[in-house]
Symmetry: C2
Subunit: 411 residues, 2 copies
DNA sequence: ATTGTTTGTCAAGTCTTCTAACAATGTATC
DNA sequence: GATACATTGTTAGAAGACTTGACAAACAAT
């Protein structure tokens, strides 16, 4: 069942199969032959010849060497023509900004990342993104018109049709700002605007830990906490775009206050900010910990806690284990509700590794229904900090490839 | 976007549009004309004429009187030919068994319900269902071969392909029993086996409170508690069929033991059994309550508590309010994760009404993200205790109608 | 060299849908 | 009541996508 990505612009659904074939080619690692395409799509080889010729004419797809199989005529392997064009994926986090340049086969050619503050509001933030984008383009001897499409991820709930964020808890000043419209007007390129956690699940599904899974949750643990959901092979983002906002699940009604106004939200207990806060508190309380020797107390970050924990610091390990426990409670609930086949923990904090993952696994096995808990795999993101930016690249390519494939008489 | 029900048997997806049209007709109340069908499906009127003629030849669809519109030729309204055949929907609860007979337009012609105990295991339970089925058929001067398909709902996670339940918490003895195979062999009719909460959301979506919504949660509060999820217009049941099992979310780690082995599950705090238990405890503790006068203490049920609460009994009202609060906690989490447009509370206990609904609404508005909480509507099931059996009828019709529509040269 | 196997292509026919014109059947207007 | 107008439904011809069945191409095994 190939319900990939084409229904992005669902008008002109005439040659549906052409686009399904295109998606099957792009998401099959190592390429695929006409015969196998025909098999997988349940079409005749003759029909596949016609469809593939169409794609070859448009130069989106190219033939590579034949691969020697077991016996019989060796198949001609098809793959995306990587040189046909370029796309850019932008990942705006709360505290970092990443811009990645990729070719049509999703190979990242270059990448820039800078520290960042999303609370500055839309105009300065988008200006920074623009600066970084142009820097990247020029460094690689390209120009904006060679970029076929751009994917942008932001940490808030998206209303996709108008291209805005709606009441984002950690993006003050952005509510209702016409992000997509502004960028399309400025840059003159098609933009795909998405939630960063959604992009994370997309990236990991396409090129990471969740390859080929159709029911997948991606937990992004950074400064804040959010989840991206892939259900039935489709990204799910709910009625108003705020599905997966697990950061504001109430875990402990008597817990610390959260930025969203409620008390005891997961984010306030286990997010990067919360971890940093606990580290500062530990130092100020005078506990014996390596954290005391890691620079000024006010600048202690989750990254420092991770480093100290890895070096055997008990206090840091406790902080992380506690965060893992709270995460586990939320993930156990998510598993009971959604029953995914895999949960991928990503985002900056996740790079701590097993120290964070183990308490999650423990709690999940203790709290979730056996039927669901036994089948679910809980892993760290393979793409590490790149999950979301790769997801942005995937979205950009979804636009670029299908747009190019639509062109009539391209040559 | 019409992603209705056809991909049930997805082979032979040649005349996809025919089946999409059929579904559009069956789920449009009051019927629909060729012209509007063409509009909604983005097909030409000419194509629609051909498709509809096909359906008319097979006698699945019939023309009714023309409806006088504003001006121009009045449209000919099409509707499902209700007399073309019959289906049966069976709803097996933990403590009740309902069998409903419906015609092709989903009108329920007759219905039988008996008290029931699902813990008896598959053979006796299915025998009871069979007895009730035959009783219903004979009472209505029909025979089994006039029934085109049968939908069956059970309160456990379904693996649909082999037609079994997997490790169901409240169905001891049923694990792995080949339910669908056994019934298809016995009755010789196609069977659709589904989870009861899934059927609930289906029923309410088709003919109840959630008509036309594409993101919908149905919370079934009976002896146990489960949720059915409709996401992106499709039923979602997860990797292993146990999506929506919110009954075993841990709400209070120090709470009472649950049948599933864990402590403080929602079901053990707010399910029908839990409500009955709290009623018994109140009476035994000697509290002043109407519950003392409602028969033997051991037989007090959730229904009695509801009745007493409605008559102003404070103790009963407190029990119900507390159950509503626990439910609200779970539903608030579900709303944060899944951001539906509507949550429908159904099942036996839900008929208590606002006494239960109000605490749910309060907690949700307190705990959920404002963006999600403001858009979500929380209502009681319109079909009352019939949500699931109507869902079973819908499934049966999905098989029956499309099967009949496939027949070539039916006349 | 021959046989067998699998891939890719070609030609003819089928099926679905579209366009464009037209017939049918009502309301609104004079 | 006759006429104009609007909307629905049908018909005919053409375009496009896919299928079947035959066949050529390119390799491995014998």
């Amino acid at each position: 069942m190939s319900q990939f990505f084409w229904p992005l612009f669902s008008q002109n659904v005439k040659n549906l199969n052409k686009h399904a074939v295109l998606d099957l080619i792009r998401f099959t690692p190592g390429g695929i032959s006409r015969a196998e395409l025909a098999l997988r799509m349940e079409l005749s080889r003759a029909a596949m010849t016609a469809i593939v010729n169409d794609l070859l004419e448009n130069d989106v797809v190219r033939e590579t060497e034949s691969r020697n199989g077991q016996s019989g005529r060796p198949p001609i392997i098809l793959e995306i023509n990587s040189k046909r064009g370029y796309v850019v994926g932008i990942d705006m986090g709360a505290s970092h900004l990443t811009v990645a340049l990729a070719d049509f086969s999703a190979q990242v050619l270059d990448e820039v990342e800078i520290p960042f503050d999303i609370t500055q509001g839309p105009e300065p933030c988008l200006a920074q993104a623009e600066a970084l984008l142009f820097e990247l383009i020029e460094k690689n001897d390209l120009s904006l018109d060679r970029i076929q499409a751009i994917g942008l991820g932001v940490p808030g709930p998206i209303v996709s049709e108008p291209g805005i964020v709606l009441a984002p808890p950690i993006m003050p000043g952005w509510d209702g700002y016409p992000i997509r419209q502004a960028l399309e007007r400025k840059w003159g390129r098609p933009i795909s605007l998405n939630n960063d956690a959604e992009l994370g699940v997309l990236g990991e599904w396409a090129y990471g830990a969740g390859r080929g899974e159709s029911d997948l949750a991606f937990i992004k643990v950074g400064s804040g906490i959010g989840a991206g959901l892939l259900l039935n092979g489709q990204i799910y983002h709910g009625a108003t775009g705020s599905a997966g906002e697990i950061g504001h699940l109430t875990i402990d009604e008597n817990g610390p206050l959260c930025d969203c106004g409620n008390a005891g939200c997961l984010e306030a207990l286990a997010g990067g900010k919360a971890i940093a806060r606990q580290a500062r508190e530990a130092v100020m309380k005078g506990q014996r910990t390596l954290l005391s020797n890691m620079g000024p107390v006010e600048e202690l970050s989750a990254r420092d806690v991770a480093a100290a924990a890895r070096r055997g610091d008990l206090v840091s390990q406790q902080i992380i284990a506690r965060a893992g426990t709270y995460l586990g409670i939320a993930i156990a609930g998510l598993i009971n509700i959604f029953n995914p086949r895999m949960v991928i923990v990503g985002g900056g904090v996740s790079q701590i590794g097993d120290l964070l993952l183990q308490p999650i696994r423990d709690i999940v096995h203790r709290r979730s229904l056996p039927a669901a808990a036994q089948t679910v795999k809980i892993n760290t993101a393979v793409l590490r900090r790149r999950s979301s930016s790769m997801g942005a690249v995937v979205r950009a390519l979804s636009i670029a490839l299908h747009q190019v494939a639509e062109q009539k008489e391209a040559k």
